[in-house]
Symmetry: C2
Subunit: 470 residues, 2 copies
């Protein structure tokens, strides 16, 4: 099938390609209030699947869902000094409610550490109440000066986990467990993105944290995207809100806390990791539509695709039946390609005679005829191959576009050329980090030589990964 | 087991009983900003199950989920005259964002008809784009002067469906389908509440609707709770936002619309329908914890309840294992009773020898010894019985506390005595409705004599159901 280019090619203008894809694949629109977004059904379907997969992993990690209010008294934000400094410039403030000016303005939550600690301080009394492991799915608002759909929006959807522990070690281990076994597992094995797990430098830490763990993905243009973070909060918020417990030994002790979040930003990461000049490519384990069964034309084909669709659904696949034969087939095929559905099964009048269909694969590309009766067995294998291919491509890109360098100048050069640089942190240091910052290059994270997460910034052999970022 | 009364008895003070239950069963707390609430994990678990069941039914009805922004430009609200009049007194207004005063203040959505129509007017071009069936799960804000947890809160969680259709009939039928087959089915068969389906009088309609369908439940004190509504919007919003389409015949036509919602208010309805002086009683089909397997004391009992818990989970039951033997058994049993878990399986040292357990049933009450090996077969039957009992009790209450009356005075008397009255709408009429309103008695809905929903307010034989309400 010959195609007119529906998207600006990536190589020509990557940001424009990204915006084109979001529009044409009907993922999202800009909202009427600057920086907000409307997530359209196909885009929201991606987010729903992310929620499902993540929620199951969060529950496996022992956390329970709850819901805290959108509105936080302004005074709460100021209790933790670094926290308020970090968030003050981004706040949305409600000054009027119910037709009157409020006595105390309230802020729309930019994150919920403060309000949650207000309740933790009531709920936690004894060591028996610990660990307290809470998660919430919510919208948050951070006023955004340079918005970009999914990546930086004034309102976004996320989950935020908040936990309280009896000891430093328990909190540290839990933050690490979320980082690796919840977020890392999901991003690698469901999103198919070969994320790097590391720790943030002090400069890049969350406002109020003693340690921030991050997952960084390399996008199609070689820039980095922070895909999620897990923070050790130490006792900073516990002190500010007096969140303490009576220990087994009868002492009143502050709790040690963590918080961790991933957001609709992951949808942006998915697009920029796996998209190509024909549109999105959705990893099969994530896809809410893994297979679209398309009638090319004719009533018999329509009846057949409905039948095949029902059969494949019963076999456990996530299937959409496209029987809109009053819309030209070519236009529909381009649309499913834009939307990145891994597999299309196309049925036309000739296929009905032969018991065959065309199998079109979005991820490796190409088409081949297949026996309809073989589909239920064949498709799970095809989808497994496709899932593996996306992760492999992501890994290959990261490896081929990461260079080991010895100087700050080389690091900057590699990053500005559209790749990542690895440089010893002992060479770079906070001063070098500041210098890179002048060229809009940042330290994405610190990693150990063996790829593990260093226990401290100054652990021997620690490497900094340096890149431009979203 | 002798119990001290943990809750204010219902007969003594129903509102205090309600608040006691919410506190002691750890369902929710009041938020720091007036009228807001913190939904605690056990309460949120109820809401999550409501969402799951409702979401599946909404998807079966063909609607797709999407997400629209929290912030709406203030000017949008004013485009539909009745709508703004209805909501203006309840709005929360953001005047500052990102450290600056905004050029145009934005309101926090009280509902999303206006912003959604802004997008529908872009997305809908041709008859091929119809029907457009969208749902969103979101938080909304309506500033509340007399807040009560779950029932009237300044922020609440809900789903709001919004649809656009080519004809009046198609919109009318879809609103009715949601009313009966989505909401009615869920409330009757999952929540176990014998809701009455009817239409609102013009006075009680949603601001901007041409018809509002409602589901009204009778609470334990005989008052009514509006559990959900489905609206026909006619072309009111379509006119205000110019949401139109090119018909098959080549004419530009306005769309016909519906909107419909249920909220965390249903949690309040659940409590007030099924709760008793010992706490909540959760219908098994809803319950996120259907069975709690409790170790009374001792390590062997702990090992045993874990084993039984795993076995019952594998059998498809929603099970919680309570192995906190360092907390007194009696206190834990009272707690599960407060939380309304339908079935407790209690295992003590003696049971281990005999291969038996105590089966304690929250809904009919009572305890009996059972063979542990029989549990996986027995429990689904027990839970089915319990589900049926709650619906039966709800139906019996509604029937026994509803009286047919012939005059406005009798209607007011029946309602003020804690019941519902049924009176011909031809006798009551808008004037009688206004008169009842002076005594805080309202027309909950209009129904036909055979219990169906009248096609019009003035359909012959239409009855008004009159009650005090939440």
């Amino acid at each position: 099938m010959a195609k007119a280019p529906v998207l600006t090619p990536q190589a020509e203008d990557f940001p424009r390609w990204y915006q084109d894809l979001i529009n044409k694949a009907e993922l999202a629109d800009n909202g009427p209030v600057r920086g907000t977004m409307v997530i359209r059904p196909y885009g929201y379907g991606l987010w729903e699947r992310m929620q499902q997969e993540m929620d199951a992993r969060i529950k496996d990690a022992g956390a329970q869902n709850a819901y805290f209010p959108l509105f936080i008294p302004q005074s709460y934000l100021t209790r933790e000094a670094e926290h308020v400094e970090g968030f003050a410039p981004e706040l949305a403030v409600v000054t009027h409610g119910g037709g009157k000016e409020l006595e105390e303005p309230v802020v729309v939550r930019p994150t919920s550490e403060t309000i949650i600690n207000d309740y933790f301080s009531k709920w936690v009394q004894s060591y028996r109440d610990l660990p307290l492991l809470i998660n919430q799915w919510a919208n948050v608002v951070r006023w955004e000066m340079r918005p970009r759909v999914f990546l930086r929006t004034s309102e976004f959807l996320w989950q935020e986990g908040h936990t309280a522990h009896a000891t430093y070690e328990d909190a540290r281990d839990y933050a690490a467990h979320i980082h690796r076994n919840v977020y890392g597992d999901f991003m690698t094995n469901v999103l198919g993105i070969d994320v790097v797990l590391g720790r943030k430098t002090p400069k890049e830490r969350f406002a109020g944290a003693i340690n921030t763990l991050t997952l960084e993905g390399m996008m199609g243009d070689g820039k980095a995207l922070q895909m999620g973070t897990s923070h050790e909060l130490g006792t900073n918020f516990a002190k500010a809100f007096n969140t303490s417990y009576l220990s087994k030994e009868g002492q009143q002790e502050l709790v040690w806390q963590t918080s961790w979040g991933v957001s609709t930003r992951m949808v942006g990461g998915l697009i920029m990791s796996h998209g190509d000049d024909n549109g999105l490519r959705v990893p099969p384990r994530l896809a809410h539509v893994q297979v679209v069964v398309m009638a090319i034309k004719g009533d018999e084909a329509v009846a057949k695709v409905r039948e095949i669709g029902a059969r494949l659904k019963a076999a456990g696949l996530r299937v959409h039946v496209d029987d809109r034969v009053d819309t030209p087939f070519g236009r529909r095929a381009v649309d499913w390609e834009l939307k990145g559905v891994p597999v299309r099964i196309e049925i036309g009048p000739r296929d009905l005679e032969n018991g065959t269909a065309m199998l079109a694969r979005r991820i490796p590309g190409g088409k081949e005829p297949v026996q309809i009766d073989a589909l239920a067995d064949l498709l799970p294998k095809v989808l497994d191959e496709d899932q593996a291919q996306l992760l492999r491509e992501s890994r290959e890109r990261r490896i081929s576009r990461t260079s080991d360098v010895a100087t700050i100048e080389e690091a900057a050069e590699a990053a500005l050329a559209g790749g990542w640089a690895r440089i010893p942190w002992s060479v770079l240091g906070p001063e070098g980090e500041a210098k890179l910052g002048e060229q809009a290059v940042t330290v994405r994270c610190l990693v150990a030589e063996d790829g593990s997460v260093p226990e401290a910034d100054d652990a021997p052999g620690t490497l900094a990964i340096v890149a431009r970022s979203y």
